[in-house]
């Protein structure tokens, strides 16, 4: 128990880092995923191709490999550096980039299934009054599609929160050198072999504190704003 109490500030820091990874990646992947979904339903074949190719490639690649690529490929080879001065900041943003790109493909597919739930008559009526494709999407289809997929989108964001643990692949740390949750748990387990189950329980409960409210919130939001058909 003493070990947990002594390490408490570090545990909080590590969960804060996990939360930061999750929030930035969530915003990024919702935006990028929407763009991809628009690409995939657009009247332009080239854009449809870009959308489909990106989704099918990235979705079938393990996140660990995407993470690996973002550090060794993007940063070391392609020279994409977010912060010249501090390595830890650069690695953090690379992890956010990897999580964003990976999650956006799932956001895209969820949104596309949402577009499929919108009644055909809605799109036909929008076309009949002379709306263009972008107007149609912006003011008729997408608002309804988003409301139809609140619950599955919540699942994707919960998965994203859990996936932040994979950032340990490239060693994401805070300014003080504290790892995100999974790295922090690993180093604590390495040092304290006698209380491994206790350490696991602390971190498992920590993740539940993040994911369970998200599940409840999206269920509530889906009930409040969801489109009933």
């Amino acid at each position: 128990m003493d070990v947990i109490i002594d390490a408490w500030p570090k545990i909080l820091d590590s969960f804060l880092l996990t939360l930061k990874l999750a929030v930035y990646s969530a915003v990024g992947s919702l935006l990028l995923g929407t763009v991809l979904a628009v690409f995939r339903v657009s009247p332009v074949p080239v854009l449809r191709f870009i959308g489909a190719a990106a989704v099918n490639t990235i979705r079938n690649t393990p996140l660990t490999l995407v993470m690996f690529f973002s550090l060794f490929g993007l940063s070391y080879q392609l020279g994409i550096v977010f912060d010249d001065e501090f390595i830890y900041k650069n690695v953090f943003w690379l992890a956010v980039l990897a999580l964003t790109v990976y999650t956006s493909t799932f956001v895209c597919e969820v949104l596309r299934s949402g577009i499929n739930t919108v009644d055909v008559g809605q799109a036909e009526a929008a076309r009949a009054i002379g709306l263009t494709f972008t107007q149609n999407l912006r003011s008729v289809i997408l608002p309804q599609a988003f409301r139809a997929v609140i619950a599955p989108m919540g699942s994707v964001l919960i998965a994203l929160t859990k996936n932040t643990t994979v950032a340990v692949t490239i060693g994401v740390v805070t300014a003080e050198g504290v790892n995100e949750a999974s790295g922090q748990m690993k180093s604590m387990m390495e040092l304290n072999g006698d209380i491994v189950p206790l350490i696991f329980l602390v971190f498992a409960v920590g993740f539940m504190c993040l994911t369970l409210p998200m599940g409840l919130l999206t269920t509530w939001a889906a009930r409040k704003w969801g489109v009933v058909r």
Partner: protein
């Protein structure tokens, strides 16, 4: 809704807009290709020596094929165990006894709500204090089993719930016991109906074997470091390995898609063939079609 209803047949103005969008799209593709090409060129990634090893048998025999074997070994055992786990706990959640229902529900929800990587770390570090010889293989396999088995339990439960009530009632009416009804009437139909969703989850399982890299399990992704260090070609190796993963995963997913279409045509189940997301109450355990995102799944 088919997406073609989103836009009309293009008139002169829409054709112009589409042309501009096409050009922008092509420009985007060309720009990405150029950046990748020139940066790789600057750092010498296109040099022949970096790619030549993949045309020779050595790299394949010594690294890549054993790596694929390692990945498939974990995948095969974890699949069998996860299916068994999912069946036991899925049925457990529908048991007559409230105790069994509660207990199965607790474990299924627990394993689904924590990251798989934490589970694997725990399973690895807990072995030595228990007096076992620490095995990475078992940590990876058991982690995959517990997480994916829990998702499969939900899939199976959703499948049973999607069957018409008359199936169960008729079976009880002809005098079958509760367990006979489950075993010979409900489960066969539910599993058949949920087969596409089950295979989609197996794609997730296959992808998650790559988490073994973090624990230094000798699977495919780990070969990137080995081959990369040996031939000084980390990036080419990573690209080849990525292609292998994409080939394995997309063939499994297209099998799921094909199976869904095939079964939709045959239609020999009472329940709808479909994905967990359409069938699970409240959509909390939504699965993306063909992707198998569990509740906080391995997206």
């Amino acid at each position: 809704m088919s997406t073609s209803v989103l836009y009309d047949a293009p008139g002169p103005r829409a054709r112009a807009v589409n042309l501009i969008a096409t050009l922008l799209g092509v420009a985007l593709l060309a720009w990405i290709a150029w950046v990748v090409y020139s940066k790789f060129d600057d750092t010498g990634q296109w040099e022949k020596e970096k790619w030549k090893p993949f045309l020779e048998a050595d790299v394949w025999n010594n690294f890549l094929l054993p790596g694929i074997a390692g990945t498939l070994r974990a995948f095969a055992l974890a699949t069998v165990l996860a299916l068994a786990f999912g069946l036991v706990f899925g049925v457990g959640r529908m048991a007559q006894s409230a105790w069994i229902r509660w207990l199965s529900g607790f474990w299924v929800e627990f394993f689904r709500s924590i990251p798989l990587l934490l589970l694997m770390f725990f399973l690895y570090y807990v072995q030595q204090p228990l007096g076992l010889e620490a095995s990475i293989y078992w940590a990876v396999v058991l982690g995959l089993m517990l997480y994916n088995g829990s998702v499969l339990a939900e899939v199976i439960r959703a499948g049973v719930n999607s069957l018409p009530r008359g199936q169960r009632e008729a079976a009880l009416a002809v005098g079958l016991t509760q367990s006979q009804v489950m075993r010979s009437i409900l489960l066969p139909q539910a599993i058949r109906a949920m087969l596409p969703a089950i295979i989609a989850q197996l794609v997730v399982l296959l992808k998650d074997t790559a988490l073994g890299y973090i624990l230094a399990y000798d699977e495919l992704l780990n070969q990137v470091n080995k081959v990369g260090q040996l031939n000084n070609n980390l990036i080419p190796t990573a690209i080849v390995v990525a292609l292998i993963y994409i080939a394995m995963n997309s063939s499994l997913s297209s099998f799921a898609t094909w199976l869904e279409k095939f079964m939709g045509r045959r239609g020999h189940t009472a329940g709808p063939v479909g994905h967990a997301d359409q069938l699970m109450p409240g959509g909390t355990a939504a699965a993306v079609p063909g992707a198998g995102v569990g509740q906080g799944g391995a997206v």
